[in-house]
């Protein structure tokens, strides 16, 4: 079973647990399950390079052949990502991507982005802020 199917099966079991905060706003990441990693493959729907959290929207083939599932994936801020080697043009609409993520605990199609490989350009980007704490890196 693929990680996605495993995740969807899991999501079906736990059902939907509602959270009460806007996910785009400046918030704790505790709504994501950092004990689990899910990998999805799809194409970029939109790369939203905005504060406080950059968001990647990904079209992923789902049950409906006419309409892909849409995943939203959160990252840290543009300023922090820039210092980690990103910029607003590293991902573009229709790029093929492989994304590792920590899924939402509530079972919705979303998560905290760990790493994204842009299969169109061959480049990989990760989001760990703590990478910047290594001496000499910057």
């Amino acid at each position: 079973m693929s990680p996605l199917l495993r995740f969807l099966a899991f999501a079906g079991i736990v059902g939907v647990v509602l959270t009460a905060l806007p996910a785009d706003a400046h918030h704790s990441f505790a709504m994501f399950d950092f004990t689990r990693t899910v990998t999805i493959h799809g194409t970029v729907k939109e790369f939203q390079w905005t504060n406080p959290h950059v968001v990647l929207w990904v079209n992923v083939p789902g049950k409906d052949p006419q309409k892909p599932d849409v995943w939203w994936l959160e990252m840290t801020s543009p300023g922090n990502l820039t210092r980690g080697g990103w910029n607003r043009k590293v991902l573009n609409t229709d790029d093929k991507v492989e994304v590792d993520l920590n899924p939402l605990r509530n079972g919705n199609l979303g998560g905290a982005l760990i790493k994204v490989k842009n299969e169109t350009t061959g480049q990989t980007y990760s989001t760990d802020l703590r990478d910047m704490e290594r001496p000499g890196l910057h």
Partner: protein, 281 residues
């Protein structure tokens, strides 16, 4: 000190109402603030330590300090904190800052994940940061005192002085609603009478310490002392960037006339609705 002694000016205010005809002239004393800097004031800046560049919070240490320097919450407050922690651990974090209001003082210094920079100008030090629609602390170093009754604000009223290479900052008049937060999901409003004393100093060339003494009598049993660490971007390749928190609620779209506009991203169950980004106005 960047500036010399406080400049004062005695202002005679005449109150001679047309009907009263009173000739009394009560004297009030006003402080001249923001005097025009002279060459000596600009030259004095060169003697200050080099805090130029972009400073990034040491996030791992923030988390460690919460355990190492536990907050002396009042018992009734500790219960609230425990409940917030339980909710966060259960994956239901309270979004203390989800409204995009500023983290304010002292939370900016305590929990920020975003970079900041210092500007030294005569009589003042400014700390600028990313997020909150662009963060700003104004720290007056011209020798003034706090105003007798300042309007409360998210960052309060700050005065500073140099003790050798250490900047000592005294902050009052913070809004009671401003959180004392230990994470983005765990924090309590200071509820008033907050007083923060900070000592900023370099521990090594690219490492800045902010030694904080936080007095919040309505929520703490005693002054809480802790330290936050910031390190300088060593390669000096990056600038502070604009950080408008509310921007994340909007998608960039074109309206019917082709104008570039922001369109709200609807949310459901607290999360953005992915399909909504397809639509155009």
């Amino acid at each position: 000190m960047v500036r010399g002694a406080m400049n004062t000016l005695v202002v005679l205010a005449l109150f001679a109402g047309p009907s009263s005809g009173a000739a009394e002239a009560p004297a009030t004393q006003a402080t001249v603030i923001n005097p025009p800097p002279g060459a000596a004031d600009w030259a004095a800046l060169a003697k200050l330590p080099d805090w130029s560049g972009v400073w990034t919070p040491f996030i791992s240490d923030q988390n460690r300090r919460i355990k190492a320097d536990p907050v002396p919450w009042r018992p009734e407050v500790a219960e609230q904190v425990k409940a917030l922690e339980a909710e966060e651990h259960a994956g239901r974090p309270k979004g203390l800052f989800a409204d995009c209001l500023p983290e304010g003082m002292p939370s900016w210094m305590l929990i920020s994940h975003n970079a900041m920079e210092f500007l030294f100008t005569p009589g003042r030090i400014s700390i600028l940061g990313e997020m909150d629609a662009n963060r700003l602390r104004r720290i007056y170093t011209d020798g003034r005192a706090h105003p007798p009754d300042p309007d409360p604000s998210f960052h309060g009223h700050s005065i500073g002085r140099w003790e050798g290479q250490t900047l000592v900052v005294d902050t009052v008049a913070v809004l009671p609603e401003s959180y004392l937060a230990v994470s983005e999901a765990v924090g309590i409003p200071n509820n008033g009478d907050l007083h923060v004393v900070e000592r900023f100093h370099l521990s090594e060339k690219d490492v800045l310490h902010d030694d904080l003494e936080i007095t919040a009598p309505r929520i703490l049993t005693r002054t809480w002392k802790t330290t936050r660490i910031w390190f300088r971007q060593r390669a000096r390749k990056y600038d502070i960037v604009e950080g408008v928190c509310l921007q994340g609620f909007y998608a960039e779209r074109k309206d019917a006339r082709g104008n570039a506009v922001f369109v709200p991203i609807p949310h459901a169950d607290g999360n953005p609705v992915p399909e909504s980004v397809k639509s155009t106005p």
